[in-house]
């Protein structure tokens, strides 16, 4: 359902995966940002955001993703996205996000390419 949302976190030794579900708007974006910030403070510098279960996203949600990219950059970290729909990927490329973050088809390739 489009407006039920959720975040799953899987923290491994070297990296952590944040998997969203539902509409990525300001509310889900802020929650995601808080989780990412906590992981960064714990020392994680390699994060994956998996948007596979997020069918819809708005530009306010994306602006918060950019904040996460910027926060990681300050620690010389990297953010890799995976599970984007064709339209999401197109939008991310238009917004130059593809220059400062990785875009991969699935978690496996996102993890392999830090």
């Amino acid at each position: 359902m489009a407006n039920k949302f959720d975040i799953q976190i899987r923290a491994e030794k070297q990296y952590a995966i944040l998997e969203t579900a539902g509409y990525l708007n300001d509310a889900l974006g802020e929650r995601l940002s808080k989780e990412a910030q906590e992981l960064i403070e714990k020392g994680y510098t390699q994060l994956v955001i998996n948007l596979d279960k997020t069918a819809l996203i708005n530009s306010i949600g994306i602006s918060i993703l950019i904040e996460i990219i910027e926060a990681l950059e300050q620690r010389d970290g990297t953010l890799n996205f995976c599970g984007l729909s064709a339209t999401q990927e197109r939008t991310f490329r238009m917004m130059a996000i593809a220059k400062y973050a990785g875009i991969f088809p699935d978690e496996k390739s996102a993890i392999a390419n830090f």
Binding site: L56, I60, I69, A86, T87, M95, K99
Partner: protein
């Protein structure tokens, strides 16, 4: 035959090709417009990717009205016009309007580290990128953004799944 009822509702000049939606400027209501757009586009046999593009453009147009219009009635009016080869979506608010010159400055966002990856000010660009033709008419009585998606847009064909 039933003038009183008709007067209370939308005029009966509406045709078989029109869907009208009125939503309040309230959390998640842009999803109402987007999901409705999705059902309509699917019923017109748009490709899955086109449906997603229509949904995303609809969301951006609605949240612009929510965020920027300062409309006193706090409502957004959407008209979906189904044509054989295209879907037109007109999204209207009765707010303050805007022109290229008086667009709002970035609000209190964190500063952009990479100017090309700015955080805000993408909504209209996204709409232009995802739809085939976009027309904005705005004055101090409000804003209408009219967006058209064609079924056989040629530069899309290789992108289909």
């Amino acid at each position: 035959m039933n003038r009183k009822k008709e007067a209370e509702k939308v005029s009966n000049t509406i045709s078989n090709d029109l869907v009208l939606l009125t939503i309040p400027m309230r959390r998640d209501m842009e999803l109402a417009a987007a999901q409705l757009a999705s059902v309509i586009a699917e019923s017109m046999s748009f490709y899955e990717q086109q449906v997603e593009e229509i949904q995303m453009a609809t969301i951006e147009a609605c949240i612009n009205a929510f965020e920027h219009s300062k409309s006193p009635d706090q409502q957004v009016f959407t008209k979906f016009i189904m044509r054989s080869d295209e879907l037109e979506i007109k999204i209207t608010d009765q707010g303050v309007g805007f022109s290229h010159d008086n667009r709002a400055q970035q609000r209190n966002n964190k500063p952009d580290i990479h100017p090309e990856m700015r955080k805000r000010g993408w909504g209209l660009e996204i709409i232009h990128a995802l739809m085939d033709s976009v027309n904005i008419s705005s004055n101090n009585n409000g804003t209408t953004i009219s967006m058209v998606k064609c079924k056989n847009e040629t530069d899309q064909e290789d992108g289909q799944e």
